[in-house]
């Protein structure tokens, strides 16, 4: 087995809410090889976003350990996380929120290059202008986009800007947290195509978080299903889809609405369900 890029052991994260404790993540084990494409699916409150935030070093676990390329990142102070910042980048759900409205697109994209932490990791001084032009071309945006502000672009274009920023420091790993959930259906396919293309061309390791099983099926070769802070099922995407091992995964798959083109109502199989929820976990996603 090849050396794991990310390795996670017994990772637990508790949040304290006034009056009670909330378990965000409960004893999660995980490992991801270089070049792998991992999808993490689950419903709201399942802990999927908590997990990737820990992987990206944006939050600290209550207990458990994370290694990146053999180096333990848990417990490292921010100033020693430079290697992680240079090689793990993220794309977020809503580009309206993930792009600073008061910065020009060019400055947004080159922000990772200007950070002292990241600069120290890069072998040679990077020409910002050249790299900017490169990534803008890679995400199919015109070169003159650099001088404009985010609000001058449509939703799909903004998500391209966010992807361009993530690519700027030439990362090893791209983490995408619900990358197409905030986009219109017609733009969704474009962004998914772009992600597929970029991962193939640049040999990226990809981690995708989504509540949409179809999105993950399309982008990823490995799959982890999460529920209530735990990974309930893990395996090759095709295996999990064709033969889910747990009831929960099966119910999740059955619940995905499919286009019904039968003659009338009532002759389609009933949409899947998974009992009455036992806790307040059920509900709207963030």
């Amino acid at each position: 087995m090849s050396e794991a890029l990310f390795r996670v052991e017994k990772l637990t994260r508790r949040y304290s809410d006034p009056g009670r404790e909330v378990l965000g993540l409960d004893q999660v084990d995980l490992s991801l090889a270089k070049g792998g494409r991992l999808g993490i699916v689950g419903e709201s409150g399942s802990g999927k976003s908590t997990l990737v935030r820990l992987l990206a070093g944006l939050d600290r676990p209550t207990s458990g350990r994370i290694w990146y390329e053999g180096t333990e990142i848990t417990g490292l102070p921010e100033r020693r996380l430079g290697f992680l910042r240079a090689s793990v980048q993220m794309v977020f759900q809503d580009p309206r929120s993930s792009l600073n409205p008061r910065m020009r697109v060019g400055d947004i994209i080159t922000e990772p290059l200007r950070s002292r932490l990241v600069r120290r990791q890069l072998s040679a001084e990077v020409d910002h202008g050249a790299r900017l032009a490169e990534v803008l071309a890679a995400v199919d945006l015109p070169a003159d986009a650099a001088g404009r502000f985010p609000h001058e672009f449509s939703g799909g274009q903004r998500q391209r800007i966010a992807i361009a920023r993530a690519l700027a420091p030439k990362p090893e790993v791209l983490i995408a947290d619900e990358p197409v959930s905030a986009l219109d259906v017609s733009v969704r396919a474009q962004v998914l195509n772009l992600l597929t293309e970029l991962v193939a061309d640049q040999g990226l390791t990809l981690i995708v978080v989504s509540h949409d099983l179809m999105v993950v099926r399309h982008l990823c070769d490995q799959l982890a299903v999460m529920r209530a802070g735990r990974i309930v099922e893990q395996g090759a995407t095709s295996d999990v889809y064709s033969a889910p091992k747990t009831d929960y995964t099966a119910a999740l798959l059955a619940a995905v609405p499919k286009i019904r083109t039968g003659a009338g109502r009532g002759d389609s199989e009933p949409p899947g369900r998974f009992g009455e929820p036992k806790s307040g976990r059920e509900g709207a996603h963030q």
Partner: protein, 280 residues
């Protein structure tokens, strides 16, 4: 005669008279299920609010809306209020904010009865609890006594569904009712909606951006683009054999499962090129 008849509906907003809905006409028979598909900003919600007579003050409406023999645009606010919740009701997208945070859920449902049926508090309570059970809430008594913030998103949406249905309206308008919900919750809510609509015989105008969800609930479907209806027909017909290039694109991109993982997905632009390009 149809229950709802919309003719040449046009809605403009504000001083610049921006057109949100542009010459839309359609009809819906009693007990029918009509889906309305479109992307954000296509004018779906504005159409629904126009039917309810709930457009904001800066909106300017032309065309005709006939609902159960009433011409909406000519009615006074008083008469409109009497139709709302009685003849037509609505289920909104955001369960987290659609309920009054300072009032117990049961009372909010009971209000609908009190407003239109003049029900007494005692019997109303029984009907509320029965209705809450009917929309699939496991512990209707407790839910009735809870404040909205004590309920989960799925529970709240079911409370709203109960409010919309308790008075047996002739038309229920659902505006993206499950978009904010998790898939498993969405599935149960859709199933319940299907059952209670069947049981009551109410017609439904179902608004969504999700083609699959619409196909689960509706028989007929319309596609809206930039305020206009570009295509309509039966679900079976429109989804298997779309005519308008935009619809073709939508149907193609919606079927992620039809593409091998990692292969290029079809995009709307393969079929339809809006004159203005992507940048607005």
């Amino acid at each position: 005669m149809s229950l709802l008849e919309v003719r040449d509906l046009t809605v403009r907003f504000g001083r610049h008279r921006t057109v949100a809905v542009d010459g839309v006409s359609f009809s819906l028979a009693a007990g029918g299920r009509l889906g309305l598909i479109g992307e954000s900003g296509s004018g779906k919600t504005v159409t629904a609010l126009a039917i309810l007579g709930l457009l904001p003050g800066n909106a300017d409406l032309s065309g005709e809306i006939d609902l159960a023999g009433h011409r909406i645009a000519t009615l006074s606010e008083q008469r409109l209020s009497r139709l709302r919740g009685d003849v037509v009701s609505m289920v909104f997208q955001e369960p987290m904010t659609a309920l009054d945070p300072t009032m117990r859920a049961g009372r909010q449902v009971a209000e609908v009865l009190r407003l239109h049926a003049g029900a007494e508090a005692g019997p109303a309570r029984d009907r509320v609890v029965a209705m809450l059970a009917e929309v699939g809430l496991a512990d209707p008594e407790r839910v009735a006594d809870s404040f909205p913030h004590q309920l989960s998103g799925g529970q709240r949406q079911r409370v709203i569904l109960a409010m919309a249905l308790i008075n047996a309206p002739e038309l229920v308008i659902c505006d993206e009712p499950t978009t904010a919900l998790d898939v498993t919750v969405q599935a149960t809510v859709l199933e319940k909606l299907d059952q209670v609509l069947d049981a009551s015989g109410a017609a439904c105008l179902f608004i969504s951006h999700d083609l699959a969800v619409v196909s689960q609930v509706c028989d007929q479907v319309m596609v809206m683009l930039d305020g206009r209806l570009v295509e309509s027909g039966s679900v079976a017909e429109l989804f298997t054999n779309p005519k308008h290039p935009y619809t073709k694109g939508l149907v193609a991109t919606a079927r992620l499962d039809a593409v091998e993982p990692g292969q290029r997905l079809p995009v709307v632009e393969d079929f339809y090129h809006p004159a203005t390009g992507e940048s607005r």
